[in-house]
Amino acid sequence: MSTPPTVVVTGVGATTPLGGDVPSTWRAALAGTSGARTLPYDWVTQYELPVTFGAPLAVPAADVLPVPQQRRMDPSAQFAMIAAREAWADAGTPEVDGERLGAVVASGIGGVWTLLSAWDTVKERGARRVLPLTVPMLMPNSPAAYVSIELGAKAGSHTPVSACASGAEAIGYGVEMIRTGRADVVVAGGTEAAIHALPMAAFAKMQALSTRNDDPAAASRPYDADRDGFVLGEGAGLVVLESEEHARARGARVYARLAGVGMTSDAYDIAPPDPSGAGQERAMRLALQDAGLSPADIAHVNAHATSTPAGDGVEAAAIHRTLGDGVVVSGTKSMTGHLLGGAGALETIFTILAVQNRTAPPTINVDRLDDGIEIDVATSARELRATGDLAAINNAFGFGGHNVALVATSA
């Protein structure tokens, strides 16, 4: 039996609250910049939202995409398209048979802007005023479909939907597409555009959001004793995955290997994680096993770490049980906010760059580590093991008990 192909990352792309592309986002992250700010939108006061801030894109999509593309795509698809173009160019526009190229682009919520504005139109002006592209714009697979159309990806386009684990699940799925021989190259990641009155009102109602309205930049504070919820962000992150053989044959620059995928479910509750953390722990162990590594090999974890009181503690304990003391942990949502379906993908990019640059990005706003957090939280950018092979884990967990852990190793 032949061995499945090794999967490498040859391109990265993103548009985030910290920057309009990956280099600017990474620089801002290493510098410990917060992307959170008071939202300048009328609807925040009009609808009396209890939370008045979020982490919107640093570079609005409207500044990048031509008007016809803006009009035909929900913001979630616009963000994915911006990230896909950067990732593809960054990979050196690989020459690949379209039937060997896949697209896996996840979203947690889908085209919420399109859905709700079309509903406003129906209520206010009647059914015949609804635009004919409403369905293709609101469907959650729209970003994946647009990316597949843009790049001519015909091996399959897919849209995992697993709340805040979606973006990481998409990358895991992309890895599996290559390992199972369905594709040589896959563009994979996640996107979200949910800074809208309804999701914000709903997240606030379940007390998931920080209410630190007077100090948005300090609101996302994973592991800090005074954390009070997450900050809603938006954006997209996509990577170009490639079989190592395909990448080497074309002389591509390789960022890292994606060596391990672990996916589990809690089967516990529709919102909070299983407080035992057993499902999260099992995802990390499966990813390690898949990568052929032991806990001691892992130098760094980009944690899911949303800054909610319950979630961070459960994950920290699961990381400590799985990996012990020797691992440096970053909670980058302290800077980016929580990109929901985009989060796991952007944080996989951070994990890849951490391995490539041997540097863990900081977790900002940790003024006083919460009692009982036993992990080594990087509160400023931290060098990872100076020499030798390097391996890191990205964790992504979603409402409904979805757990994804991905292992990146130095190429």
Partner: protein, 82 residues
């Protein structure tokens, strides 16, 4: 207030430009929406909806198939405004 045919043409050209990216000066009276401007049926419905708002007219869905050229649309809108 009713617009002149020249104003309607210019307004339509703006809508077509935003929807498709085609330059406004390519939108001429004798151009066919499908054959010359390569506008598909979904985009056409969107353009019609925008035009209804812009010129304060109603263009029934059944009527859209009769709007073959830009000139047809201009004539229809001018008539509906009168």
């Amino acid at each position: 207030m009713a617009s002149s045919e020249q104003e309607i043409l210019a307004g339509l050209a703006e809508i077509v430009n935003e929807e498709t990216g085609l330059p406004t000066d390519s939108v001429q009276l004798d151009k066919s929406f499908t054959d010359d401007l390569d506008i598909d049926s979904l985009s056409m419905m969107t353009i019609v909806t925008q035009a209804e708002d812009k010129f304060s007219v109603t263009i029934p869905d059944d009527e859209v198939k009769n709007l073959v050229t830009v000139g047809d649309a201009v004539t229809y809108i001018a008539g509906a405004q009168a």
